[in-house]
């Protein structure tokens, strides 16, 4: 009578919590999903003629990757390491070369007139191209555009693209568009 109930030993709750912790560590992933985002062109309508999307020849650069992962940019073979600079020259056209893309004065909301390049990069690959090479080329193309955006941002806002406000980023995106077209699959090697 009058005996006190002994306190329950609580040291094992830590073990139970550890077990739960281990369970969650095993079954979950620390998902940090990163990658290159792209937008595929919509499937052309069967009745619609493909002709109406004709782009002026000087406005397009064709980057081809063959089954041996060799790269052809425009007319000459090129190494991945040089691709970025070539694309940058193509997109900026600093000397107003008539063989490089034309620019149109576009009124960008919140910024004013800016000569936006009409250049389009068309990426073609072979069925035998390795994914590794394809991603490397995609990466270089994105890098070229990103660097141009950074340059634009530094020139006009005095900071990097990522440091700009979202409004400024929208303006920059309009001024330096990322026009990468993933063309219809073609057999590059046959040509």
């Amino acid at each position: 009578m009058g005996k006190k109930t002994p306190a329950i030993n609580s040291s094992s709750t830590a073990d139970i919590a550890f077990l739960l912790l281990c369970y969650f560590l095993m079954t979950t992933t620390m998902g940090s999903n990163t990658g290159l985002q792209r937008r595929l062109p919509p499937m052309p309508d069967a009745n619609q003629k493909a002709e109406d999307q004709k782009v002026n020849r000087r406005n397009i650069i064709v980057v081809k990757i063959n089954s041996a992962d060799r790269i052809l940019a425009g007319t000459d073979p090129i190494d991945v390491s040089q691709l970025k600079d070539k694309i940058k020259i193509f997109l900026t056209n600093p000397t107003d070369d008539p063989s490089l893309p034309e620019k149109t004065m576009t009124d960008i909301e919140g910024f004013g007139e800016y000569a936006v390049s009409k250049g389009v990069i068309s990426l073609q690959n072979d069925r035998g191209t390795s994914y590794h090479a394809y991603i490397a080329v995609q990466n270089e193309l994105v890098k070229a555009v990103n660097e141009l955006r950074d340059e634009f941002a530094t020139r006009n806002y005095g900071r990097d693209f990522n440091a700009c406000t979202s409004d400024q980023q929208e303006i920059i995106k309009k001024a330096v568009p990322q026009n990468i077209s993933e063309a219809e699959p073609k057999d590059v090697s046959r040509k």
């Binding site: 998902g31 999903n33 937008r39 072979d126 490397a136 699959p185």
Partner: protein
């Protein structure tokens, strides 16, 4: 003075271990919040290619995954070593993508469907033929937002 001397002789009291469980629970909640359930078992081996310009996937809940790669060792006897497509938990062919995308789309709310991203997780040694087929099929299903999964290159 004698009182203090008496106190010094005492052994140091053991620290209360009752708070250990609280600490571990805190760790537990941290992991529960930052991680996500591994939804599917990987049946293909994927070594993602590296790229320096990668961006983070914005809405993880609105993405569906297409894994492409060589089957893992346990499945090689059955499916060979050629690159295969894995959707959800099983090996599929390109023609099954249509149903897969339709099912994924149905599972989303009306407003979210336009933000659906299809993540192509392909091994870096896959040939582009299979990827091109997948891309064409995705275009046919008008699942146009895609992402090539890649890991950040440490430069």
């Amino acid at each position: 003075m004698s009182r203090f001397k008496k106190g010094e002789k005492k052994s140091t009291p053991t620290g209360s271990s009752g708070s250990i469980s609280d600490i571990v629970f805190m760790l537990l909640f941290f992991f529960m919040v930052t991680t996500q359930m591994r939804d599917t078992e990987n049946k293909v081996m994927v070594t993602m290619p590296q790229a320096s310009e990668v961006v983070k996937l914005e809405r993880k809940d609105l993405s569906s995954y297409i894994n492409v790669g060589t089957p893992t060792r346990t499945y090689q006897a059955q499916y060979g070593t050629d690159s295969r497509i894995q959707l959800n938990d099983s090996f599929k062919t390109v023609s099954d993508i249509r149903d897969f995308i339709a099912a994924e789309r149905d599972a989303m709310s009306e407003a979210d469907r336009q933000f659906m991203t299809t993540v192509i997780k392909a091994d870096e040694n896959v040939r582009m033929g299979i990827i091109t087929d997948i891309k064409q099929e995705l275009r046919r299903c008008s699942a146009l937002k895609i992402m090539y999964a890649a890991t950040r290159k440490s430069e």
